[in-house]
Symmetry: C2
């Protein structure tokens, strides 16, 4: 797994940033449940929102969409992203890895016991685990200019 | 452009859904400023968050990251996604299209006048326009079960 071991301060074009350690990334992922999966279907990227849960160091999401599953079978390489921002701060966690549809009934039963939103109407879901090769995250302070510097007046 | 012309009710595995018309999608995109771009680098998808603005029927985002730009030059096919959810409702708008780095100085000046967050520290941004081939969006009612039906007790 390619990830930094501790939070590290850096400079980014969006402001002072902190590169999050792998442990910090997982701690944040575990306290959220809504993210986005990125696919590539014959080099055309696609993004779709998903409910997810963390089990061990894998992300599991659920879907019922035949097209997505066909694309995942053709190319199991996926990206996964969770983010949040308010006026002062933003963070984003990204994974890159490989997707595996869960077929083993006992594994599916364990995954069903994880914390999922319980929507109506229910339907049989397909669960897909993402085994990550790369985990990365950063937190950025987003301080607004108090006054904008007018470069044309100098 | 491949999109429906009016909002249409459908059923989705996540609950009753409305497929949004192209006009509804653009109206929502115009009132938001934070989304996610999906790339595919040699069939490995990547997702990164961006500030964006809408001009005409294109999305423009800004970046200063050399790696992303290299990947976009190698494969200009992109996805772009904006979403929001609260307890009752969720919506998601997705675009698929082609990315073009803006080089023309007068076009860049016009794009700089759009509504961008004005972060400190500033840096020279590269602006990238997405010309969409497909625009799609849906709004889903997310009503929780009042009580969970216990299927094992029947």
């Amino acid at each position: 797994m390619n990830a930094v071991n501790r939070d590290e301060g850096i400079w980014s074009p969006q402001g002072p940033a902190t590169v999050l350690s792998e442990d910090s990334c997982w701690a944040i992922l575990e306290t959220h449940s809504f993210g986005r999966v990125g696919l590539s279907n014959e080099n055309q990227p696609e993004i779709f929102p998903v409910d997810y849960a963390v089990t061990g160091r894998e992300v599991v999401f659920r879907t019922a969409d035949g097209t997505k599953l066909r694309h995942l079978t053709a190319n199991p390489a996926v990206a996964f992203e969770v983010d949040e921002r308010d006026g002062e701060e933003a963070w984003s966690i990204s994974l890159r890895g490989e997707a595996h549809v869960l077929h083993d009934p006992s594994r599916v039963r364990r995954v069903e016991q994880l914390s999922w939103p319980d929507w109506v109407p229910t339907k049989t879901y397909v669960y897909v685990a993402i085994h990550p090769h790369v985990v990365s995250g950063r937190r950025i302070s987003r301080h607004l200019h108090a006054t904008r510097r007018d470069e044309t007046s100098e």
